[in-house]
Amino acid sequence: MMGLLTILRQRYHVWLNRRIPPMRSVTLTQRRIFIFPSQPGCWFFVVLLVMLIAAINYQNNMTFALVFLLLSVFIVTILHTFANLSGLTLSALRTFPVFAGENAEFELLVARSGNKDYFDINIGWPASDHYAVTLTDCSSQVFSLFLPATQRGYFKPNRLLVETRYPLGLLRAWTWLALDIEVLVFPKPLPCVLAGEAFIDQGEEGGVINVTSSDDFYALTPYRAGDPLKHIDWKSYAKGQELQVKQFASFQEQRIWLELQLFTGSLEQRLSKLCYWVLELEKNNVEYGLRLGDEKITPAKGQQHQLRVLTALAVYQPHGSLS
């Protein structure tokens, strides 16, 4: 039984993918919109049935007329509900990388092309909160949806549900959109101790300066974007000189190579621990590099570098595993 259901579901997804292929920006047309009576709509029919029975039993022509009117309203509402989705364009704007276990933010745009008002459109993933859109005064709206990111790597959410029950709530028009949108998920940082050998620089550049624990002041260098704020020499800046940054000898000379072998545990745990140390080292202004499988990132620091290293951690696939 379960097997059959799975097959059916797979078939459904294949069919859906053909009918509504993933795109960066999707305009809703009749090809993509489904419509069916909502739960209140079914109750509405029960009420109509009771009224019809009353009309027949009392041979009451005006009750007949009222039942026919409400039935006609229902039929016309099919078009109105449909029109409340039709013509909308949904676009994926951007995402912000997150660590596993956090909520990933997806920024989306919903826009209309004409001047027709749109009401009560709910947009969301099954697992996310739904966002209610009303387009009356403005022709587009930017909004964010949040989804919990559980696994590192590129996280591609499932199909996005766009639905409406406007104007009468008797019908539900909906569509499952595959927006071409993904978010980068870094491993979840896992605090741990870093073994001593990591500090030995094995780089080709030579000129190793031994690690000392001193915080000795070394030199002032002109400020560059990305330098830690706490190292800025505020005193000289206050005197009217240009913005300068204090360089500390002990940090400057440290170059650390991070590798999987430094840590124990499963692959994911090791990656998590690596991630923790990337953040720690960056915070402490230490230059660090990464050797991970075939990937080799020379030691450096700064936001760009950190992003590069974290991305490598996020997408790492060990040899031997598929895909």
Partner: protein, 671 residues
């Protein structure tokens, strides 16, 4: 999310409005305390919304529900209503649920429940009346309910807003053609089971028994009793005696239907009546609800309607009490003889009088009868007596003593038709002549617009029937002897001296029939009501078949389905077109529209904007060439650029728009 859900304010406003509209037409039949309960619940709900009060605790709600149940039991459990399952108690129950639910709407589901309940409550009004105005009111109320339903799905309106009503109105307008189509095509089935009808404590019209004063009470009502549509010419007013009830039993003060008046005719007797119909009057009667089974027809009537029965005293009776307007066809032959042979047992019943009482009248009758030449002469003598001996026809007769007949004939001499008919029959019987009292209506008013005869309650009348050898039952109306104008012209003329016509209902438009324009309006409204009833409310069965045949040529399921599909598709295509058209129409900002308009004017005047030219370059080029109006063009362009590219507060924006508008107007003026 577990944030407590709130009904949108706009939705609540429309809901309260539609509830009020629903309850108003029911006001006359709902107990007063229910109205008070509804208003208090509505006020409480408003206070809750303003944040001044909180929702009532559960105990209060349960208490209120119990109170309502108790109230309904007290109001309807007593006499007059057959059971608590009658229509009125059910409606009262629905309304109590309706107003209590107001205090409990705290989820979207509850809102749906109360709105669907409102739809259902709307039809209850139709079970009591389907008048044109009631129908318009109810359909408008349904529109209001739908506006509430729309408002439930429109967020962002903190206050009452007409926008929901507009949307609902558009949907209704589009649904209307489909409704008409369904109304015309869908066949009306026979009732599935028997249902309770309005119990209506006050049954109207002529009653089961007749005491002399009864008819005068009826005469105070201007309600329509029934309406007659003659196929040929309308007979003379004085010959229109609408028989409804025959009373053969007299107990000294009150006439009642006897055993013989309750018998139905056998098949042979019915066939006999049909055989007597030679060159009959053909007419249709539209009887208003009377909550009684009596039908009113001209003498010797026959109807082939399956719901109509004939009684042995030549009356038509409906199968059931008449709860709603019914319509049936009748043929009548006024010249036909009624019961030429009278069996001994029937003769005994029709001459029977109470053993004692009214002795004076009894001996008076015997004395006069002995002085007269046969039955004919006796009847004439009595009628002459009414005509000449100071008898008065009045709506306000004095009260009569124990021997009512004696008291009236020899003492008060003032009475209404019941008094005359009753005492006349008494005198006949006292002389041994078979006679009986007949009650019904006399006369009627012709509406010249529709050509139908309107018979009102104040046309109620009673007269006598006397059996004569060889002739059968002959109609004798003693009232005609006292007040011939009653028979010739109607009650209003007969009472003109006394001024008592519809004295209790000063607002009745029937009192002002001599005011020409008022009367014309009244007759036109009546015509509307007639056409509404005959062509819309009675649209079923043969009538429906006729209409369908005239549209389709031949009525078959195929043709009906094709009609529904064709018209339905046309309407829906139009609606779809209308809805989807607005999708791609771009709405330009006001300033862009104004600027482009100005550019178009300039282009037509010979100064087109070059394709590569920006707004500022364009204006500078033209200003150099035509300084006369260039200054205004510069200002307009400046305003346009400011509006387009600078963030402005609303009032600044409006001021800028005004500048743009004014300057553009000056440019086109100077061109």
């Amino acid at each position: 999310m577990t944030v407590s859900w709130q009904v949108p304010r706009n939705c609540l406003a429309w809901l309260l409005l539609s509830q009020f509209m629903l309850i108003m037409p029911h006001a006359e039949r709902l107990p007063w305390w229910l109205m008070v309960a509804y208003i208090s619940c509505a006020l409480w709900r408003i206070m809750v919304y303003q944040g001044k009060w909180s929702f009532p605790p559960k105990s209060v709600k349960v208490g209120l529900a119990l109170l309502c149940l108790l109230g309904i039991w007290r109001s309807f459990g007593s006499e007059g209503y057959k059971s608590m399952l009658g229509l009125e108690p059910t409606v009262a129950l629905l309304f109590s649920g309706f107003c209590l639910k107001l205090l409990e709407v705290n989820s979207r589901r509850d809102a749906y429940v109360i709105i669907f309940l409102a739809y259902f409550v709307a039809i209850t009004e139709f079970l009591f009346s389907q008048d044109f105005y009631i129908t318009v009111t109810v359909f408008f109320t349904v529109l209001l309910i739908s506006a509430a339903l729309v408002a439930l799905h429109q967020h962002g309106y903190d206050q009452f807003s007409i926008i929901s009503f507009k949307k609902a109105g558009i949907i209704f307008a589009q649904a209307l053609p489909l409704m008409l189509l369904l109304f015309i095509v869908v066949p009306r089935f026979e009732p599935l089971w028997k249902v309770p009808y309005p119990s209506h404590q006050a049954k109207t019209g002529v009653g089961d028994t007749l005491s002399p004063g009864d008819i005068s009470n009826l005469s105070q009502s201007d309600a329509l009793a029934f309406r007659v549509v003659f196929e040929g010419d309308v007979p003379e007013r004085r010959s229109m005696y609408w028989r409804g009830l025959v009373f053969s039993d007299f107990d000294g003060s009150e006439w009642a239907r006897g055993r013989l008046n309750k018998l139905l005719m056998s098949t042979e007797q019915v066939a006999q009546v049909l055989k007597q119909q030679k060159n009959p009057l053909r007419y249709t009667i539209i009887q208003e609800a009377s909550y009684r089974p009596w039908l009113f027809t001209l003498a010797l009537a026959y109807s082939s309607d399956p719901a109509v029965r004939l009684s042995t005293d030549f009356r038509l009776i409906n199968k059931d009490d008449i709860h709603s307007r019914i319509r049936y066809q009748v043929i009548s032959t006024p010249s036909a003889k009624l019961e030429t042979l009278l069996s001994a047992s029937v003769r005994a019943v029709e001459t029977k009088l109470p053993a004692i009482g009214n002795e004076q009248a009894r001996s008076f009758a015997k004395k006069i009868y002995s002085q007269s030449s046969g039955t004919e002469g006796f009847i004439q003598k009595i009628l002459n007596m009414f005509n000449q001996d100071n008898y008065f026809y009045t709506l306000n007769p004095p009260l009569l003593g124990d021997n009512a007949v004696d008291d009236f004939l020899f003492n008060t001499r003032r009475g209404f038709c019941g008094h005359y008919a009753s005492s006349f029959v008494y005198l006949m019987r006292a002389a041994g002549i078979p006679a009986r009292v007949v009650a019904g209506y006399q006369g009627g008013e012709i509406n010249p617009i529709t050509g139908t005869v309107l018979v009102h309650q104040f046309d109620a009348h009673s007269w006598a029937e006397v059996w004569l050898e060889g002739e059968g039952w002959r109609r004798v109306d003693p009232t005609a002897a006292v007040a011939p104008e009653r028979i010739e012209f109607g009650l209003e003329d007969a009472m003109s001296a006394e001024g008592s016509f519809l004295a209790d209902t000063p607002m009745s438009p029937l009192r002002y029939r001599d005011v020409k324009w008022l009367n014309s309006i009244r007759l036109q409204l009546d015509a509307l009501s007639y056409y509404w009833s005959s062509s819309v409310l009675q649209y079923r069965g043969d009538k429906q078949l006729d209409v369908l045949t005239s549209i389709l040529g031949k009525v078959s399921p195929w043709r009906m389905a094709s009609l529904v599909l064709l018209v339905g598709a046309l309407v829906l295509f139009y609606v779809a077109f209308d809805l989807l058209r607005g999708r791609s129409k771009l709405r330009l900002a006001t300033e862009v529209r104004l600027y482009l308009k100005m550019c178009k004017r300039l282009g037509r005047a010979g100064y087109p904007r070059l394709p590569h030219e920006g707004a500022i370059a364009y204006s500078q080029r033209l200003t150099a060439a035509k300084p006369a109006w260039g200054r205004h063009l510069l200002q307009a362009t400046h305003a346009f650029v400011t509006l387009s590219y600078e963030p402005l507060a609303e009032n600044e924006r409006q001021a800028m728009l005004k500048v743009l508008r004014d300057e553009a107007a000056k440019v086109s003026h100077l061109l």
